[in-house]
Subunit: 227 residues, 2 copies
DNA sequence: GTCTATAACATGATAGAC
DNA sequence: GTCTATCATGTTATAGAC
């Protein structure tokens, strides 16, 4: 029998409920006052618990961030982001914009969440082993978006494409976080422009000249351990 | 007369000396024990000052990071990184490797320094207005490296090139920080590979087909306020 | 064994005296 | 300019309730 199996379902349910309460309290306060201006004590009070109890469920403030990431990815996967019969351009725009939509409410505190991108020791950073699962699921969702085109592409290009699109997604997110334009219109424009540039590039990957180029790029990334 | 002019040169000198002492103490401790394991109290003691006095010179721990950035850029500009008669490939490799060399001693704590990349409010982040001067100087140093080629390129491509190379530099730095291979050999390999990919791309920018492409890219970046 | 509460610690940062 | 005192907060230790 699995070691982590719940012996007492009711207990597990209570546990999950309390945990969800803490996360909910945290996100509510983050939205109202920002990440840095919300202390673990505030979160505990809001959740009706003591500080120690809050730490029992979330061993660090950053772990609340990780839980939030999971929540966002789950929400994304909950319903399809694009119409499979639409054009490549439309599908890409739909996916990238959907991700922005999902984060819209939380944009003011996203900056605090994604910090520590550069710290190799931080378990919550975008490239950490601890977030590999989320990363893979995110890349897979881009693969699903361009599945028809991937089938037609040369192998190396096809293997590169989903990760490349995920990287584009990260860039748009970073821009989104810093975007102070009304309704973040500039980010939406950037998405449109970037997609308009990327689509022809994907098509060009089918030309014979592009073959060796993509193979070289892939070799570089593989050598670097990035793929 | 300028408002910030030194009325009493001796005082200004002492001030600068004390400031330098604090920075020196901080960097020494960062190198020995890492950024997070060095407290402002440790730094103050090492510099022979009280905590409050240390904060008088550096209003935050992050401001020590900014001072460090300035120091590195100054060191880079102190002597030419490449031989102007060398090939484009050699020059690019020389510049990128030189920047890694300058940071080699401090690599273990670089991760802590570059964190907060995503926080719009952090004044020390790579894209903040407060670091615009450093960013411009860094981009300019790449422009100097490819000056001969820029003259031969179409306008849009020429304007894009230095910033693009600076972006490549940032990527190699991020990789360097996480690189645990012996002597960070993998980063050096990545630099070689990336330069080998980039140089032909720069040459291709001269073909008539590439003209509109670069113009589109530039328009996108300008629209986004990135150039 | 599962959960919760209280106390204490370390540290970044600030206020005010001199 | 420099110091001492103090605060706020992330985190840990520990004791005990159920």
């Amino acid at each position: 029998m699995p070691p982590k199996a719940a012996k007492k379902p009711e207990t597990a349910q209570k546990r999950d409920r309390t945990r969800a309460q803490v996360l909910e309290a945290a996100l509510g306060l983050f939205r109202k006052r920002g990440f840095d201006d919300t202390s673990m004590r505030d979160i505990a009070v809001e959740a009706g618990l003591s500080l120690g109890a809050a730490y029992y469920y979330f061993p660090s403030k950053q772990s609340l961030v990780l839980a939030y990431y999971h929540e966002v990815q789950r929400a994304y996967e909950a319903e399809p982001a694009f119409d499979a019969t639409a054009s490549l351009e439309e599908r890409l725009r739909a996916v990238l914009n959907r991700r922005l939509d999902l984060l819209r409410r939380d944009r003011p505190f996203l900056g605090a969440l994604v910090r520590d991108v550069g710290s190799p020791d931080n378990p919550v950073m975008v490239f950490a082993p601890e977030t590999a699962d989320l990363r893979q699921r995110s890349i897979a969702s881009f693969a699903a978006c361009v599945a028809p085109e991937m089938a037609a592409l040369p192998d190396a290009a096809a293997r590169l494409l989903p990760t490349a699109l995920w990287a584009l997604h990260l860039v748009t997110l970073l821009y989104y976080i810093h975007d102070r334009s009304r309704g973040q219109a500039r980010t939406r424009q950037l998405v449109d422009d970037a997609v308009a540039l990327v689509v022809p590039a994907i098509m060009l990957a089918n030309t014979p000249l592009a073959g060796p180029l993509f193979a070289s790029v892939e070799q570089t990334l593989v050598r670097a351990g990035l793929m």
